[in-house]
C-alpha cells in the first residue's frame, strides 16, 4: 500500500506574524551586507494619526457658516513673544525645513515661489541658505543646526526668522546624513567638505549643552539680530511635554514639534520606525506644556510630521497648534512618487528610473541615493532638470491652496470665522488609542481613556 505524505494545505502557505516576508527579507539583507538600511521619507508603519479624529460640525446646538461666502480668517502671526518683527502668514501652513543637498536648487526655487504666492514661509535646511531660495522666498526661516554647515552671520541677517534645530521627528537624537553621491561640488563647497564624502552631521550643537546654555545661545541670536527676528526651536517628538517646556524656558518665540511621521532624506530605518512618538500624541503634550506654563498664545506652536490634507491641518489647529509645517506632502506635490515628470508641458515616463532603483511609484523612498527619477531629491545635473521651477512652483501653490480651502471649509462647518477658533471640543476620536493620546473623547461617548480615573 502506498503511503502518501500528509499535506496540510492550510498551513503550508501560512506566513508567520513575527517572521513575515518583510522581516525575512530584512534579516537576509543584514546577513548579506552587514549593514543597516538607510532610506528616505518617514515612518511607514501604521500609527494613530489625525485620521483617527473626526469633527463635530454645526447643527442645532452650534451654528455653521456658509461654506463658500462667509468670512473665515486664516491669517497667522508667529513670534509675538520677543521679536520686534514677528512673521505674518496669510495661511497657517508653512513649508518645513529641507536642505539644499537633499533637494536640488530648482526645488528650492519652486518652494520659495509657491510659498511667496501663498503668503507663507519656506525654511532652509542642513546645508545653508542658497541664493535661489532667498531670492524666491519673501519670508524665509533660517535653520541653525548642529552641523552649522554654511552657517554665517550674513545669512542670519538676511533671514526673517531663525529656527534652532534640536532634532527632527524622523530621527530624534540623530544628526543628518547625506551620502556621497549627493555631495557634488556645489554641496561640498557650501558645507566645507571633501566632494563625495558620506556626510554625517553632528547630533548635538557644538557650542552649547543643555537648556540653560540654549537660553544664552538664543540670546546671542537675538543680540546679533538686534531682537528683530523671531527665534523658533524645533524638537523631534519624544519627551515632548518636557522638551517644549524647556524650549519655552530657554526663550523660544515659537516651538516646532515634529512627530515620528516626519520625513528625512536619509536615515537608518531603525531610527525612522522605532524612535519618537506619533504626531497626534506630540501635539497634545506640546499644548499641555504651553498651557501648564500659561504661555498658550504667547509662544506659538508649529506642528509637523505627516500633515497631508486640509483636514489634518484643521485637526492640528483644533488641538491647539498655531500653524503646521509640511515636508513630504510638498515633495509629493512636486511629483515625488509620480509615474511621470513634466518637461515643457509634456508628461514623460519616469518608470525606468524607478526600475533602476528597484522600486515603483507609490513605494519609492530612495531620496538617499540621489537618483530621484522625477528630479526632486537629487544633485545630479541631468536628473535635477526633470523638475522645472515653473512647474514645481505651480503644483506646490495648488497644493497649498487646496489645503487652505479644505481647512476653511471645515472651520466654517464648525461655525468658526477664524481657523484659529477651531477647538478641542470640535473633535471626537475614532479609536481608543487616538482618544487616549489626543485626550479627546471616543465618538458617541464622553470617554477619554486614562482621564477622570477611567
Amino acid at each position: 500500500m502506498d503511503i502518501k505524505p500528509v499535506s496540510f494545505k492550510r498551513v503550508s502557505r501560512e506566513e508567520s506574524a513575527s517572521f513575515d516576508r518583510s522581516t525575512i527579507d530584512y534579516i537576509q539583507n543584514a546577513a548579506a551586507h552587514g549593514l543597516y538600511e538607510i532610506r528616505g521619507m518617514g515612518a511607514k508603519r501604521k500609527l494613530p494619526h489625525f485620521d483617527d479624529l473626526l469633527f463635530l460640525a454645526g447643527s442645532l446646538s452650534r451654528y455653521p457658516l456658509e461654506g463658500y461666502r462667509e468670512k473665515c480668517v486664516t491669517k497667522t502671526i508667529l513670534g509675538t513673544r520677543f521679536a520686534k518683527k514677528p512673521i505674518e502668514l496669510d495661511i497657517p501652513i508653512t513649508i518645513a525645513g529641507m536642505s539644499f543637498g537633499a533637494l536640488s536648487a530648482n526645488v528650492k526655487e519652486s518652494l520659495g515661489r509657491a510659498a511667496t504666492a501663498m503668503g507663507t514661509t519656506t525654511t532652509t535646511g542642513d546645508g545653508g541658505m542658497t541664493p535661489e531660495e532667498r531670492n524666491s522666498s519673501k519670508t524665509l526661516v533660517y535653520q541653525c543646526l548642529p552641523s552649522r554647515y554654511g552657517f554665517n552671520p550674513d545669512d542670519v541677517r538676511r533671514a526673517d526668522a531663525i529656527e534652532v534645530v534640536i532634532g527632527q521627528g524622523a530621527k530624534p537624537g540623530g544628526g543628518g546624513m547625506l551620502l556621497g553621491q549627493k555631495v557634488n561640488p556645489r554641496v561640498a563647497k557650501m558645507r566645507t567638505l571633501p566632494q563625495g564624502v558620506d556626510q554625517r552631521s553632528a547630533c548635538r550643537h557644538p557650542d552649547w549643552t543643555g537648556p540653560d546654555d540654549l537660553a544664552i545661545k538664543i540670546q546671542e541670536l537675538r543680540e546679533l539680530t538686534d531682537w528683530e527676528k523671531p527665534i523658533y526651536v524645533k524638537v523631534g517628538a519624544t519627551r515632548t511635554f518636557n522638551d517644549v517646556k524647556l524650549a519655552v524656558h530657554a526663550g523660544a518665540d515659537v516651538v516646532v514639534v515634529d512627530g515620528m511621521q516626519g520625513g528625512t532624506a536619509a536615515t537608518q530605518t531603525c531610527y525612522i520606525e522605532h524612535i519618537g512618538i506619533p504626531t497626534l500624541a506630540a501635539v497634545r503634550q506640546a499644548v499641555d506644556a504651553l498651557e501648564d506654563l500659561n504661555m498658550k498664545g504667547q509662544v506659538q506652536l508649529i506642528v509637523s510630521g505627516g500633515i497631508r490634507s486640509g483636514a489634518d491641518v484643521a485637526k492640528a489647529l483644533a488641538m491647539g497648534a498655531d500653524a503646521v509645517a509640511i515636508g513630504q506632502g510638498i515633495l509629493f506635490a512636486l511629483g515625488c512618487n509620480s509615474e511621470t515628470y513634466i518637461q515643457d508641458g509634456k508628461h514623460i515616463s519616469a518608470i525606468e528610473g524607478y526600475d533602476a532603483l528597484g522600486t515603483q511609484p507609490g513605494f519609492c523612498h530612495h531620496c538617499h541615493t540621489g537618483k530621484c527619477p522625477v528630479g526632486v531629491t537629487t544633485q545630479d545635473s541631468v536628473l535635477e532638470q526633470r523638475l522645472q521651477p515653473d512647474v514645481g512652483a505651480r503644483r506646490v501653490k495648488n497644493y497649498l491652496k487646496t489645503l487652505n480651502m479644505e481647512l476653511t471649509t471645515i472651520a466654517r462647518a464648525c461655525g468658526k470665522q477664524n481657523v484659529h477658533h477651531l477647538e478641542r471640543e470640535d473633535l471626537v476620536a475614532l479609536t481608543l488609542e487616538a482618544a487616549a493620546m489626543a485626550r479627546i473623547p471616543l465618538a458617541g461617548t464622553s470617554w477619554i481613556p486614562g482621564h477622570n480615573g477611567y
Binding site: 551620502l179 557650542d207 544664552i216 546671542e220 543680540e223
Partner: protein
C-alpha cells in the same frame, strides 16, 4: 583714530551691540573699549566692520561670536563659545577660554594665550586657532578645515572624526580620537605654522610641533558596504 567707550556697568549690552551693528559706517575702523564686562554673555557678537573692540575684564559666553572683519581683544578670560562661527578678523583672549572656543569658525584667527577647555575648535570650518597653553578633551572634534595650533598639551580624543582640518601639537596628547593620526611635517606645514605662531605672537620653534590629521577611514560610512555573501 576715533575712540569710544561703553561701560556695561551703566549702559546695556543690547544698546552697545545694536550700536556696533547699526551705528557704524561701512569700513569704520574706530577703537571701542568695553568696561566692566563682568562676565556678560554675548559681548560684541555679529560685528561686521573692521573696528577694534577691547574688552577690559572677563567675558561670558559667545564673546565675539560670528565676528566678521573686526579685531576683538579680551583682557581677561572668556566663557564658552568665544569667537564661535567667526568668519574673518580676529579674537584674542589674553586669559583662558572655556569650552567650545572657536567652534565652527569659518575664517579669521582666534588666539588664546592661556588654556582652552573642552572641544576647542569643534567643527572648525576654515578658521585658525592658536592656543598658548593646553586644550581639553575632544578638541578638534569633526573639524572640517583650517588649523589648530596647540602649544601645550591636549586631553583625550584629540581630532576625533577629523575631516580636512590640521592640528599642530607641541606638547603631549592623552589620546587621539577615532580616525586622527600623527603625520610627518612637510615644508608647507612648517611655513603655515611659523606664520600662525608669528601672527599670534608666540615664540616657539615650529620644529617642536607634530602634525595630526585625518586618516580618512571614516569618509565612507562603511568600507564593506559593497560586500555580498
Amino acid at each position: 583714530m576715533e575712540r569710544m567707550t561703553f561701560d556695561l556697568a551703566s549702559s546695556s549690552l543690547t544698546e552697545m551691540n545694536t550700536f556696533l551693528h547699526k551705528g557704524l559706517e561701512e569700513g569704520d575702523k574706530r577703537h571701542i573699549s568695553v568696561l566692566n564686562p563682568d562676565g556678560a554673555h554675548n559681548i560684541a557678537v555679529g560685528l561686521n566692520h573692521p573696528v577694534t573692540v577691547e574688552i577690559h575684564g572677563h567675558a561670558g559666553y559667545y564673546a565675539g561670536g560670528m565676528n566678521k572683519h573686526a579685531r576683538v581683544v579680551i583682557h581677561g578670560s572668556a566663557g564658552t563659545g568665544v569667537a564661535e562661527n567667526m568668519m574673518s578678523g580676529s579674537v584674542h583672549v589674553k586669559g583662558f577660554a572655556s569650552n567650545g572656543a572657536g567652534a565652527t569658525a569659518h575664517g579669521g584667527l582666534l588666539v588664546i594665550d592661556g588654556d582652552a577647555g573642552l572641544r576647542c575648535g569643534i567643527s572648525l570650518k576654515g578658521g585658525d586657532i592658536v592656543v598658548g597653553g593646553s586644550v581639553g578633551s575632544f578638541s578638534g572634534f569633526m573639524a572640517q578645515a583650517g588649523h589648530m595650533v596647540i602649544c601645550g598639551d591636549a586631553g583625550d580624543a584629540l581630532g576625533d572624526s577629523l575631516y580636512e582640518a590640521v592640528i599642530y601639537l607641541r606638547g603631549n596628547v592623552k589620546s587621539l580620537g577615532a580616525d586622527a593620526q600623527f603625520e610627518d611635517m612637510t615644508d608647507a606645514d612648517y611655513a603655515t605654522l611659523a606664520e600662525l605662531l608669528s601672527k599670534a605672537g608666540m615664540d616657539h620653534d615650529p620644529k617642536s610641533f607634530k602634525r595630526i590629521a585625518s586618516a580618512r577611514t571614516l569618509y565612507h560610512w562603511n568600507a564593506d558596504a559593497n560586500q555580498e555573501y
